[in-house]
Amino acid sequence: MTNPASIAEPLVLIVPAAAAAILALLPSYRISSKLNVLATLITLSAALTLVVHRPNPSAYLLVDDLNVFLIVLNTFVGFTASAFSAGYIEHELENGKLTPTYLRFYHAMYQVLMFGMNLALMANNIGLMWVAIELATLTTVLMVGIYRTHEAIEAAWKYFILGSVGIALALFGTIIVYLAALPVVGEGLDAMAWNVLTTRSAEFDPALLNLAFVFLLLGYGTKVGLAPLHAWLPDAHAEGPTPISAVLSGLLLNVALYAVLRFKILLAANAGALAPGPLMVVMGLASLSFAAFMLYRRRDIKRFFAYSSIEHMGIATFAFGMGGPLANFAGLLHMAMHSLTKSAIFYSVGHVAQVKGTQRIKDIGGLTASHPLLGWSLVAGVLAIAGLPPFGIFMSEFLVLSSTFARQPLLAVPFAFGLLIAFGALIWRLHKMAFGDPGEAKHVPGPSGLKLLAVFGHLTLVFVAGFYLPPALTAWFRHVALLLG
């Protein structure tokens, strides 16, 4: 009898790695795009197996309650994004924006990125996690620059420089965590393993942990896109291919936040260390308010939604900073809901940009009249992200707000204010894009319902989550929320 988990766990990593190698060699982009979808589907099913059959932690890999939910989310959105990408790139080829050679590279990189993110989530070693996040960063840098326009190269360069600085600071923090664990755990791999660190962090030197956390928060915080370290994020989202914007926003930001959370657990268990909460509350609140105001001045549709991602990562960071079972629960829920909603929005935006031939908000109007199906799915997506009931984001934001009111009413005021400002910007822009004047441009037929399947799927999940969460899921979120302290 072999445990299914012992097969599923390596599969989550091996499938993307092998697919990357095959896709790099395959010349036909038609087969590649299908193979890309197939590979992400297999990865998803392997990840789902992990939910039921939990493998034992090994020297390098660890699957526990906290990361298994992110692994499933990651592989699920990875799957839908690859399905969206298959339709999207065909259009880009017709436009001549990409050539088949670049597509070969694109598909291989897509799988490397999935590999990097899955490895970062599953790593049982703080060093390995760092390497995986760096790998994921470098692949996205290449993907952002793939159109090779002036703007794309500048965006990629900016992302590369800021991302590298962030990742360098994170490594410094990682080394200090190892030094803190050294006297307690002893030399070697154990002093970097999550399962060992988490159980013994109470005995670590608090001063070293504090120092490490500052570096880690700044370093990984850059990757989360927290203000004032967010400068790379809007450009990278706007200039890369849209499937990558969806993956960046929906997944990579979550992976970086996951890294911060893991380190937060270490500090929370140590009585002498500084409370990580206030730092995260401040950064979260700053990101939320800053992004909310910046939303009003955006003229590019993808950049607009990129700022909305900064806002939502700010909300999640704020929730985890508040801490306590309820706020942590809300933070986890918010990560999942934002990831699903934002990727759905980017899928619709990708189609919008293709039918309208532009990313400028000014030139996009009257979508519900010209392309009803596409227009209404964008409306639904934006209403969900703006936090209107009955969507899941309303629920998570409401939980964050009410738990903040119960404990720190003064903090709840700026938080609610930020939410309202962002809400206003989203509705204002949406109104024009969805119901404004469609303009006189020649009509390009919109995507078929089949191509929008991923959008409908995501939004349905978010919609259902707004009023019903399966009891098993709730119990599990609760349990993880307690782990987070």
Binding site: E154, I161, S164, V165, A168, L171, I176, G188, A207, L208
Partner: protein, 220 residues
């Protein structure tokens, strides 16, 4: 209590900090590259010394990577890039040399003030190593922010990475995985940069990042 071993480690690590300072005031491309070679060689020596002192043979590999890859391969490649792009002289600094040096001194004092009290329990050996490492990291950051030219930003980034490797080598018994992977990531990172430089050169006549600023994020 200060042994010979400690003194040599101290000397090499502080040499690295000095080399970081030298990077700050170079005003020619080739000068920057030459100083970076010195930086890499000093790093290789410092890491090799740590390998000897800690009796950790795997650190010799890290030292060798630093010497061969950062001290030889990359500088040669950069020389070629600089020559081909004809950017020998255009180092544009955002801040003047004098104030850059002053900021640099401030950063070194900052790293002493921050690190020494916190790490004293880890022992003087590790503690001072970390102080120097943080100083090199911060000076690398300073170089990246005060230079506009893409090649010198890349060198600033690599000097920053050197500081990280110094820290990793100073942390006693840190598993091999990390050193190799760090070196490996630097390799990947460099390939990326190489790709970028060529792309940029293909499309524009300059690798001055400022020249790319036709388009500004916030105006879009």
């Amino acid at each position: 209590m200060h042994s010979f071993q400690f003194d040599v480690a101290h000397l090499l690590a502080s040499g690295l900090v000095l080399a970081s300072f030298m990077l700050l005031y170079q005003d020619r491309m080739f000068g920057v590259i030459n100083v970076f070679v010195l930086h890499a060689v000093l790093l290789a020596m410092a890491v090799a010394w740590q390998a000897y002192v800690q009796d950790a043979p795997h650190l010799y590999i890290t030292a060798a990577i630093a010497l061969v890859f950062k001290g030889t391969v990359i500088p040669v490649a950069l020389y070629r890039i600089v020559r081909r792009l004809d950017i020998h002289r255009n180092i544009e600094k955002v801040v003047g040399v004098g104030s850059t040096m002053l900021i640099g001194i401030g950063l070194v004092s900052l790293s002493i003030a921050v690190m020494l009290p916190v790490t004293h329990r880890a022992g003087a050996f590790t503690s001072e190593d970390l102080v120097f490492a943080l100083a090199v990291v911060l000076l690398g950051l300073l170089m990246m922010t005060t230079r506009r030219n893409a090649v010198s930003q890349v060198i600033g980034f690599m000097s920053l990475e050197n500081g990280l490797i110094l820290a990793a080598a100073g942390a006693k018994g840190m598993p091999l995985v990390v050193e190799i992977s760090v070196a490996f990531s630097v390799l990947i990172a460099f390939i990326v940069i190489g790709v970028f430089l060529f792309r940029i050169r293909e499309r524009f006549d300059s690798v001055d990042v400022q020249a790319l600023d036709r388009f500004r994020g916030d105006r879009g």
